[in-house]
């Protein structure tokens, strides 16, 4: 008596899975980005992956969500040349007043030449007063480092710098 075929049910299995993921608070990738799913740190556990700069650019595009980034909002301080990829110091600051709607909600750090290009996300609030942040990260090979800042009023900004690495870190 069961005459229902999957196409007439109105809810696809993919839709159910995506909805469940969204309910769990996990990030949902658009269909065209499913190919890079294994590159997103949130989904992965332990397996080796080869680095791919083109895939990493897709990740940056996902964060930008089609917004045109402003070029000169981020102050980026990075070495141009690093002898050892194990610990590369990064200092960044966002040029904003931290008053009203002028503060960054999230700053994403990407290293395009790493197998898992996402390095870190930093979340701020108006109580920070300044977004000046310092950290250290690993790099496998010479590549671009991209920072994406998402301002609370919906603007986005990027900064990009190439870092030459003489001796890459294991993995990354």
């Amino acid at each position: 008596m069961n005459q229902h075929s999957p196409s007439t049910r109105g809810v696809s299995r993919r839709g159910v899975v995506t909805g469940a993921l969204a309910l769990l608070g996990l990030p949902v990738l658009p269909a065209w980005a499913e190919g890079i799913r294994n590159r997103v740190s949130m989904f992965r556990r332990t397996f080796p992956v080869q680095p791919d700069v083109a895939d990493a650019e897709v990740l940056v595009d996902i964060v930008l969500r089609g917004r045109t980034p402003e070029p000169d909002l981020i102050d980026l301080k990075l070495p141009v040349l690093a002898e050892n990829g194990d610990s590369i110091p990064l200092t960044f600051d966002i040029r904003c007043s931290f008053e009203g709607n002028d503060w960054p909600k999230t700053v994403h750090v990407f290293v395009l030449g790493n197998p898992f290009p996402e390095v870190a996300r930093y979340h701020y609030g108006p109580w920070n007063g300044s977004a000046l942040t310092e950290m250290r990260f690993r790099m496998l090979q010479t590549s671009d480092v991209v920072l994406v800042a998402e301002m609370v009023d919906g603007r986005a900004a990027t900064a990009r710098q190439n870092v030459e690495v003489l001796l890459g870190a294991c993995g990354g």
Binding site: D86, P115, A120, G129, T133, R136, F137, R138, G171, G172
Partner: protein, 113 residues
């Protein structure tokens, strides 16, 4: 003697409304999960600190999400605006949901007239 597992440093006293720096250092291998063991067969499982939260008088003021590219023994510094004297506490959360923390006190004095 080995260095402490988690360290935090803030200035001893700041003026109200001033932005101060919180410097933190954790001792952790930050195993990235893409490295092979010495026999080149087994991938060493990922074991990193995946989240850092900072509380100023029990109010969340800063949050960081870390992924496998963060270097071992990770250093992190960020800024917070001084409001009142109290405790600055930073909590590190590992892949296995182990919470470790370090805390320190800060004294906020009245600004110059």
């Amino acid at each position: 003697m080995a260095a402490p597992l988690r360290r935090i440093h803030v200035p001893r006293s700041v003026k109200r409304g001033e932005v101060f720096e919180v410097r933190t250092l954790a001792r952790h291998p930050m195993e990235s999960g893409v490295r092979f063991s010495t026999d080149n067969i087994v991938v060493i499982p990922r074991h990193i600190l995946q989240e850092v939260k900072a509380f100023y008088n029990d109010r969340l003021v800063f949050r960081a999400e870390w992924f496998s590219s963060v270097s071992s023994n990770p250093y992190l510094s960020f800024r917070v605006k001084a409001v009142e004297s109290g405790e600055v506490r930073v909590v590190w959360i590992s892949d296995y949901n182990v919470h470790t923390s370090a805390s320190t006190m800060i004294e906020v004095v009245a600004p110059d007239p």
